[in-house]
Symmetry: C2
DNA sequence: AGAACATATTGACATTTATCAATATGTTCT
DNA sequence: AGAACATATTGATAAATGTCAATATGTTCT
């Protein structure tokens, strides 16, 4: 239906439901705080220094409970904005550069 | 609270609630269809050619009712993704380049 | 094995959101 | 003025979302 109107490549490369889901992951102040923290810091406050920031740090960053933080991290991972890796009993998170590159590319195509 | 963790400029330049609101405007498949259409077409199907695309075109593009389309356009305008101009009895819409530039800049800062 | 700890999942609840039908507003004709 | 049309607003409803308390899972100690 829409295919007749658009550049043939866009919605093939960026299925709209999927893209909407990824923007939704960005559409929450708590998740933005988490991303902003990840963008600015390599080491956190609460856990031994590792590859990224560990989950418990985001409780103080956001002011939210542990289960809620866990829910937000799952959301960010499913949107490919963040990567998580378990190290011992901690989960360490860092930004997913490829996911960001992809959504940036989509935004550039959309906006012009 | 968060200021101690971030680049001083980011949340000043991009208040997080405001930024979340703008991403939320992007986080809906119907609104993405509308933006995609605006990005690809200078003239619509239903109204005399003018500066942009008129509202009624988006009903067929999205498959949604007229009030729902109107609601989505209001959302896109409040997020500074789209500009609207009334011409006679029609509303003509086009992308807002500055709004897109701003959100693109925020995304770049966030993702690295 | 058992204690202690970090994270994930489940369940419940309040809020927000997308949607449409009905109605209102505003514009351009005759 | 009144008819016809395009868009906006209101009100109602179903679905999705953010949040926390309680509980489960998984890991590392002793």
């Amino acid at each position: 239906m829409l295919e007749q109107f658009e550049r043939p490549s866009f919605s093939t490369k960026f299925p709209l439901d999927d893209l909407a889901w990824r923007f939704k992951a960005l559409a929450d102040p708590a998740r933005l705080k988490i991303l902003l923290y990840l963008a600015n810091y390599d080491a956190g406050q609460c856990c031994p220094t590792g590859e990224g920031i560990c989950a418990c740090d985001f409780e103080s960053v956001t002011g939210l409970s542990q289960p809620t933080v866990s829910h937000h991290m799952k959301c960010l991972i499913s949107a490919h904005l963040v990567m998580g890796e378990k190290q011992g009993k901690w989960m360490y998170y860092r930004l997913d550069p490829e996911g960001f590159a992809s959504i940036r590319e989509a935004l550039v195509s959309l906006g012009q």
